[in-house]
Amino acid sequence: MGDLSPVWLMPAPAAGARLGSLKAARYGDAGLILIAWAENTGNSRMPSSTYFTMVVDRTGAVCQPKTALPAAQAFTPGDDLIAHPDGSIAWANVQSNRIQLVKLVP
């Protein structure tokens, strides 16, 4: 098949931050994509992550700019964003040993 040609995005991570936990889901009904990711700093003993979203179209044009999520709306590294038939998007996280369902409505 060979390499496809990527559309590159510019998340502009903070200085020293590493991108991680990338997620994506269809956003709305106009062919847009919700991109969500973590920016990680610190080390394995003292990790710190900040979570962001951005909405882009298939050409990579930014439809909603990079937006920080509050810590309560964080997502886990190993799980996906899931789309509901009504258009909402959900994921779960764990805060202080309690599971939280996070729902995003475009």
Partner: protein, 389 residues
């Protein structure tokens, strides 16, 4: 960060991918707009190759998330975007044809609203340890046929573990549970849910079985099928070490698809790591589509595309990079984007899922573009440590 999109109407045709630049030093001008036509036949990378064993977990370059405590709920208005956006109802799940783009995507993207709902405080997930896929618990989400959100997790009780599926309003004693298992994946079915299950041994490398269970709408287990169950991990051909997987469901055929990383003992006396892909029919009968799909297969994703299931994997050896195929008997590890890799468990990239855009599938990923993707540390066991590091 980037995204590749891949045409569904022309299997080997033009595709579009969105990618994201990662790391500390994003090069200037890294946005390369447009999709490129991909000519020629698919490269079949990785047939017959083997890669060495990996440490616990096996995911490459996946940074842990901190996820500090915060308020229980909140709303984040989406910045940017303006006005009314696109009216009408949202597309269901994925699929659905996309109309012509609006004059500006900013007009199409309505600001979002976010709500946070805590589940019952008695639903406490096992948080793992450093030897079990890191310290962050997995809590996969699914939506059932009635539109109810489901959340899965692994629960510890004393020295035993169970895979649990909870509805948003479940209490601790009413959540569905499959005993003596760790949750490896979750999906909803037309009449309940299904779970990808792993041996709950907290040492991933020591796990000896993987299974799929299908649950009815009352939470009862309709069937549980072992995908493999090895008597030990020493004999040649024994499978184990199941980790980092996904489970998907195709309503049209009432079929489940399980895709995950695992290990197998080969005749060189080494446990190698690779992918495992299987389907299970409505009665729970397994068909192994590939018992060795990519080597290593460091991360996996599934996307239900109407009656088909798209797969992507992340390889560091056979092949190196992101590979794609639809789930079918003997799938190919078609590389759609080459990534630098060291053959011993690390690649210059991470998967970001798949998004169905109707005529295309977008495959976001992260990579550090300051590293040449053709950088090659050699072939195991002859790895150039200077490059690998």
């Amino acid at each position: 960060m980037g995204t590749v999109t891949r045409s569904k109407t022309m299997f080997w045709g033009a595709s579009l991918l969105i990618a994201a630049c990662g790391g500390e030093d994003p090069p200037a001008g890294m946005r390369v707009a447009g999709s490129g036509a991909v000519g020629g036949l698919p490269g079949v990378a990785g047939a017959g190759g083997m890669a060495p064993p990996l440490g616990a977990g096996g995911n490459a370059n996946v940074a842990g998330s901190g996820g500090g405590a915060g308020n229980a709920s909140g709303t984040a208005g989406g910045a940017g975007g303006t006005g009314a956006g696109i009216g009408g109802q949202a597309a269901a799940g994925g699929g659905g044809m996309i109309g012509p783009p609006p004059a500006s995507c900013g007009e199409a993207a309505r600001p979002y609203q976010v709500s946070v709902t805590p589940l019952d405080a008695g639903l406490v997930p096992y948080s793992g340890d450093r030897s079990w896929a890191g310290a962050t618990p997995r809590v996969p989400v699914a939506v059932d046929a009635a539109g109810t959100w489901l959340v899965g997790f692994t629960r510890q009780s004393g020295t035993s573990y169970s895979a649990v599926i909870a509805r948003q309003d479940s209490m601790a004693d009413s959540a569905w549970s499959v005993p003596d298992a760790a949750l490896g994946g979750l999906t909803a079915t037309k009449d309940g849910a299904a779970a990808l299950l792993f041996d709950p041994n907290t040492m991933v490398d020591a796990r000896v079985w993987a299974a799929v269970a299908r649950l009815a709408s009352d939470g009862s287990v309709q069937w549980k099928t072992e995908l493999f169950h090895s008597p030990n991990l020493e004999d040649e051909g024994t499978k184990g070490g199941a980790s980092s997987g996904r489970l998907a469901y195709v309503p049209d055929s009432d079929t489940l698809f399980a895709y995950f990383g695992h290990t197998q003992r080969y005749d060189d006396g080494v446990r190698h790591q690779g992918g495992y892909l299987a389907s299970l029919d409505a009665g729970g009968t397994q068909q192994v589509l590939s018992g060795w799909f990519g080597s290593h297969n460091l991360d996996q994703r599934l996307l239900v595309d109407a009656a088909r299931v798209a797969t992507v994997g992340l390889g560091d050896a056979y092949p190196k990079g992101i590979f794609f195929d639809y789930a079918a008997m003997r799938p190919r590890t078609n590389v759609i984007y080459r990534l630098a890799a060291d053959g011993v468990g690390s690649t210059n990239g991470q998967l970001g899922g798949m998004v169905d855009l109707g005529s295309e599938i977008a495959i976001p990923f992260i990579t550090n573009r300051s590293v040449a993707q053709d950088l090659d540390a050699g072939t195991w066991p002859d790895i150039d440590d200077a490059i690998s590091m």
